[in-house]
């Protein structure tokens, strides 16, 4: 595409030329950007077809790292033994941190989920603290 002297220097640029060149560049540019990213989207959809298998059982812990760091995380009853070990490790670490002691001094014998009885104010405070840190 050829650009006039006025378009390159920007001096004495007629409005019609500014709008027409701007419009064409916008259309071509957005088309290319969308084109490239649509191709990438198709590739990523193919990724899913080739590499992703629906998990047979309902145990997909890897996603959503943005869970709130509540002191007593929820335990799923049907979780694997491995998951349970991980959970106990987390609980031990949480208790150790709040008692300011070492994990070696603690032994988790059992755990159960406590219903959330916090007042609304505390919930709001918790959310705000999380919000401030992300």
């Amino acid at each position: 595409m050829q650009y006039s002297e006025a378009l390159i220097s920007g001096q004495n640029l007629p409005m019609s030329e500014a709008l027409s060149t701007g419009g064409i560049t916008t259309l071509v540019g957005l088309a290319i950007v969308f084109g490239v990213l649509v191709i990438l989207m198709i590739v990523l959809c193919l990724f899913k077809v080739f590499f992703y298998k629906e998990p047979a059982k309902k145990a997909a812990p890897a996603a959503a790292p943005a869970e709130p760091a509540a002191p007593a995380p929820a335990a799923e009853a049907e979780a694997d033994i491995e998951d349970e070990e991980e959970l106990i490790a987390v609980l031990t670490a949480a208790v150790a941190a709040s008692l300011n002691t070492s994990t070696y001094n603690l032994q988790i014998k059992s755990y159960r989920r406590v219903p959330n009885k916090r007042p609304a104010w505390n919930n709001a405070g918790l959310r705000e603290t999380i919000g401030n840190r992300i």
Binding site: G10, A18, T25, V28, G29, F51, G131
Partner: protein, 404 residues
Amino acid sequence: MYALIDGGAMPAIKTIIMLAVACVLLYLAIVKKFEPLLLLPIAFGMLLTNLPMLKDSSAIMMHTEYFTDPQYMIMENGHSQIDVGMIAREGGLLDLLYLGVKLGIYPPLIFVGIGCMTDFGPLIANPKSILLGAAAQFGVFFTFVGALVLSAMFPSISFGVKEAASIGIIGGADGPTAIYVTKSLAPALLPAIAVAAYSYMALIPIIQPPFMKLMTTKKARSVVMDQLRPVSKTEKILFPIVVTIVVGLIIPDAVSLVGCLMLGNLMKESGVVDRLVKTAQNELMNIITIFLGVTVGATATAESFLSAQTLGIIVLGLVAFCFSTIGGLLLGDLMYVLSKGKVNPLIGSAGVSAVPMAARVSQIVGQKENPSNFLLMHAMGPNVAGVIGSAVAAGVFLSMFNGL
């Protein structure tokens, strides 16, 4: 009177204004914490280059004229090129460091570090979100038109297509990309564009939320999205390779940015070169950031910075950010309708690349509607797609206008 303005009082006043601008930027960086990692070196570079006692002395650290004035350049094939030999012989410290900007070395190297810190997992898990990264480039092109229109309206402002492209790319909300485009297309505008880009990036939490509330319904804002699927290591390793090939085939001018981004990402995801990853995302990136910031700031001399054009750039930069946000939100709204309410349109505004600030804003605005909603990971998809999108938009501009 004319002589006084020309030779006497005016330069002194301009110098004082520039020193004041530098101090204000230092204040914003240090006290207000506006992107301090870049704004602090930029502001200090500005201070260094405008010190009045250095003018015409041999201690001067930066000769901006070597890079912009044709008198100091050599002609090659009808284009004036910088004279690297002369800069090496006579240049000050900042001249030498500025070569890294001028020759396009620093921005791609920063992208290697950014690639090491970026997780494309959320994008791979939800491929549709990559389109939001494209829609958020709307502001880039809208501002390109805006700059040309402004230039047609006011005789004191003359933005040609190259300048308009450099200003538009501010809307990509990506500092290194903006610097990379500007140093090739409109080197004289580099300081104003860099300052505008980084300042507005710091202001994203203030700029975006009003548009987000305006352009979405309360019901749409409180949509809780499905959990993202887990992404395997194979996919994460293949992604950077495939992106580099696809982008390289279609828009070769974008490869120096996208390729470096993907190199960093591949180093991280492959897991076999931990040492390189550590260096790239820490030491290398920090060193480059210092060089880049201080030299970009040092190009802001009174003559180049204090003009109607700078004012135009600051206004247009804001326009670019607003319309990029609007572009992302529009497509977000469309996706909300097409998916019958499964996509929260708030993630659209995260399509401007400023990682991870824009995604955080989506999260915070979403949580105001529905306190148990966690949009952060969903917003990271469009956010990292925005980095690719703005690099592609940069490639489009470079292929169209470089060499004119």
